[in-house]
Symmetry: C2
Subunit: 378 residues, 2 copies
C-alpha cells in the first residue's frame, strides 16, 4: 500500500497540470478522478477526458520535489476535491499513506485528513503509442504556431474536421499548419531544422490550446509522435496524448492566389483599435458589418446600425497602391486575425468586393498568410 | 444642445463609478441608461436601480478633468454601451456634441461615433433630501465598520429586515452597527468624535457594499444624512442615495451575555486555515459541521463526512481556561467571522454545547463582538 512524502507546492503544480485533462462533468464518472501510481523511483499522475490524456511523472531524483517513496501502489482520487485538500494543507510537506479499502491519509503539520479513494482497476486503459523517430521542435515555436492558427478553426460541430488544425510535413522538413472555419483561414509555413518522418494529421484545436497551457515556457523542446488515431507531445516529465480528427481536410491551397488589385499597409495596433470601435457598433445589429472605403488618397471605415448609431473613421495608413475599392466584412474576423500577428505592420491585399482578402505580416509575408471572406451588401 | 470636451480617462472613471448603481436588467428599462446633465460649470452623471442612486459631479474647476463646456443640456444614454464606446476611443480627449433628436456625436482623434440618446424627461425623479446636520465620518472607518458587519446580514428575502445592517446613534455619539441572519451576529460599537443627531435605521447590506466600492480610499471623509425612507452619503463630488428597510429590527442586545464557562485564545490566521480544511470535507455533506473538542490540555477539530472522508486536527492555541467542552457548528460561519477580524488573535468564549459562542478580537474586545449559533448533534 502506497506511502510517500513530498513537497506540497511541487506536488500541487504537477496535480494542476494533470487536471487540465480532467473534466468534472464527464459522461464516464471515473474520468473525474486522477490516477496516482507510485513506483520505486517516481510517481505518475494521470488525467484524461477521453480526448486528451496527460501523464505527469515526478522522479525522486528531482530535488525540488522532495519526494521520498517508502512503498509503491496505485489509487484513484476525485481530482478537484483532492487538489483542493492538498492546497489547503498547513505544512510545506505532506505525507500520503494508503490504509485499508483504498483510503488515503494525508498528514501535514498537525492536520490529518482521510479521503476515500477508488480501485485503480476501474480506470480505463489509455492507448499505447510507439515512440520512434519523433519530430523534435522548440516548445516556444510550436506554441506560437498554435496561437497563429488554432483561433481560425471552427467552433461548430456541423463539420467536425474544421474544428481541427491541419498539420502536414512533406519532404521531411516542409511544415504547414492551417485552420479554417470556411469564413476565414490562417496558414503558417516553416522549414524545419530537424528532419522527421512526413505526416498529415488534423488535431482538435481544443487539444492544441490545452497543450499550450500545459507545456510552460521553461520546457525548451518537445518530442512529437504520431499514430493513425492519436498524437503524443512529450517532454522530460510530461506526456500529452490527444486523439486526432478523422476525415479528409479540404484543399485550402486553391484558395490562395498571388493576384490582387489593391494593397494597403496598416499599423497593426491602430487598425485593431479602429476595428474594435467598429465592432462595438456593428455588434448591435445581427450579422453587422464594417465597410472599408479605399480611395486613392484615404482609407476610411464606416458602420451604420440604425438602432444604436454609427461610426465614421479615417484610418492611418503606411502605404497604399492599386485601384479604389469598397468592401464589407465582419470586423470580428479582422480583429482576431490582427491579434494573431506579432508584426508591427500588416499588409492587406484585395482582389474585389466579393473575393476573400489576404493579410500578411509586414516582416514575414512569405510564411504566414490569413484570408477573410467579405460579406456582400447592396 | 450639449457640447463639451473632456479628458477620456477622467470621464471614464466617473462613468464607471456611476455605473455601479445601474443594472442592465432592470424592470424599468430607462434605468439602464445614464443621465448626463451639463450645466455651465459642471457635468452631473446620474445612475439608479431604484434602490441605490449615484450622482457624480465633474466641475470645470477640476484640472484633471480637462473639462471645457461650450453649451449645456441633458440626455440619457445606454450606460454599458456608452461606457464601452468611450473606453474604445483613440485619443486622450473626446468631444461630446448633441445634434438633432437626442443624437450624440463623439469625436476623438480621427474617429467619429454617432449614438442614439433618449429624452431626459423619461428619467424618473429621484427623491430629494434635506441636507442639514450631517454625521461626518472618516470614509476608511465607515468602510471598516461595513466590512465587519454587512457579511453577517441575511441573503434571504424571507425576513427582509435581516438583509440590512442596523445602525443606531444614541446620546449623539454612541454608535452601534449590528447585522444578523439569525444563525450568527456581528456587532461593532464606537464612540464618535463629531456629534450628530441621533438615528436608528436599517440599511440594505447590498447598498453598503456598493458604497464601499464607490467611495475610494482617497475620499477622506463622508457626510451622512438620514430621512425616514432614505439615506445619503456625500463627498465633494459624489452623492450616494440608498433606500432604507422598513420595519422593526429585532432586539439583539438580549443575545449577549457576559457569563461563559470556557475561553480559548487562537491565532486568527491559523484557526481560519484549519476551518477552511474542515469546510472542504464538511461541505461534501449537507449541513456538514465541524466538531471542536476542548479538553484541559488540547483543542482539536474533527469532521466526518461518510461519503468522502474525515479530518482530525490538533489546533495551536495561545491561551485556554475553564471547563472541557465539545461543540459542533457550521465552519463557514467561523471562517467568515475570522475574515472580518483584523486582530492577530481571537478570543472565543463558550457557555455550553447548545448556546451561541462569542468571538472578540484579541486587541479590542470591548467594541467588536460576534456570535455564532452551534448545531445540536447527537
Amino acid at each position: 500500500m502506497i506511502k510517500f512524502s513530498i513537497n506540497k507546492s511541487f506536488f500541487l503544480q504537477a496535480l494542476n497540470a494533470t487536471k487540465r485533462a480532467i473534466s468534472s462533468k464527464n459522461a464516464i464518472p471515473v474520468l473525474s478522478t486522477i490516477k496516482i501510481e507510485v513506483q520505486n523511483s517516481n510517481i505518475t499522475l494521470t488525467g484524461s477526458n477521453g480526448q486528451i490524456s496527460i501523464e505527469n511523472t515526478i522522479p525522486t531524483s528531482n530535488e525540488n520535489a522532495g519526494l521520498l517513496i517508502t512503498s509503491p501502489g496505485a489509487v484513484l482520487l476525485e481530482a478537484n476535491f483532492f487538489i483542493n485538500i492538498v492546497s489547503s494543507l498547513p505544512d510545506v510537506t505532506l505525507d500520503f499513506e494508503e490504509i485499508e479499502h483504498h483510503q488515503i491519509v494525508l498528514t501535514s503539520g498537525k492536520s490529518e485528513i482521510t479521503l476515500k479513494g477508488k480501485d485503480v482497476d476501474l480506470y480505463p486503459r489509455l492507448q499505447e503509442m510507439a515512440t520512434e523517430n519523433p519530430l523534435v521542435i522548440e516548445t516556444k515555436l510550436l506554441k506560437s504556431i498554435i496561437t497563429e492558427t488554432a483561433f481560425a478553426a471552427s467552433l461548430q460541430e456541423s463539420r467536425p474536421i474544421l474544428t481541427g488544425v491541419h498539420m502536414v510535413l512533406s519532404d521531411h522538413k516542409d511544415f504547414k499548419a492551417v485552420a479554417t472555419d470556411s469564413h476565414r483561414m490562417s496558414q503558417r509555413k516553416l522549414t524545419l531544422d530537424n528532419t522527421s518522418n512526413d505526416f498529415n494529421v488534423v488535431i482538435p484545436s481544443k487539444s492544441l490550446r490545452e497543450f499550450s497551457a500545459v507545456f510552460t515556457d521553461d520546457i525548451e523542446t518537445v518530442e512529437v509522435f504520431f499514430s493513425d488515431s492519436q498524437m503524443l507531445f512529450r517532454s522530460d516529465y510530461i506526456s500529452f496524448y490527444t486523439r486526432l480528427l478523422e476525415g479528409n481536410y479540404p484543399d485550402t491551397d486553391r484558395l490562395l492566389t498571388n493576384s490582387f488589385e489593391t494593397e494597403v499597409t496598416f499599423n497593426t495596433g491602430a487598425l485593431r483599435s479602429a476595428m474594435e470601435r467598429a465592432h462595438l457598433i456593428s455588434n448591435a445589429t445581427q450579422n453587422g458589418t464594417v465597410k472599408l472605403e479605399i480611395t486613392n488618397n484615404s482609407v476610411s471605415a464606416h458602420v451604420n446600425s440604425p438602432e444604436v448609431g454609427k461610426v465614421n473613421e479615417e484610418l492611418d495608413i503606411i502605404d497604399q497602391s492599386g485601384s479604389d475599392l469598397t468592401i464589407s466584412f465582419n470586423p470580428t474576423y479582422l480583429i482576431e486575425a490582427l491579434k494573431a500577428l506579432k508584426s508591427e505592420t500588416v499588409v492587406i491585399r484585395f482582389i474585389s468586393p466579393v473575393r476573400p482578402f489576404t493579410l500578411m505580416p509586414g516582416d514575414d509575408a512569405e510564411n504566414f498568410i490569413q484570408l477573410i471572406t467579405p460579406v456582400r451588401t447592396n
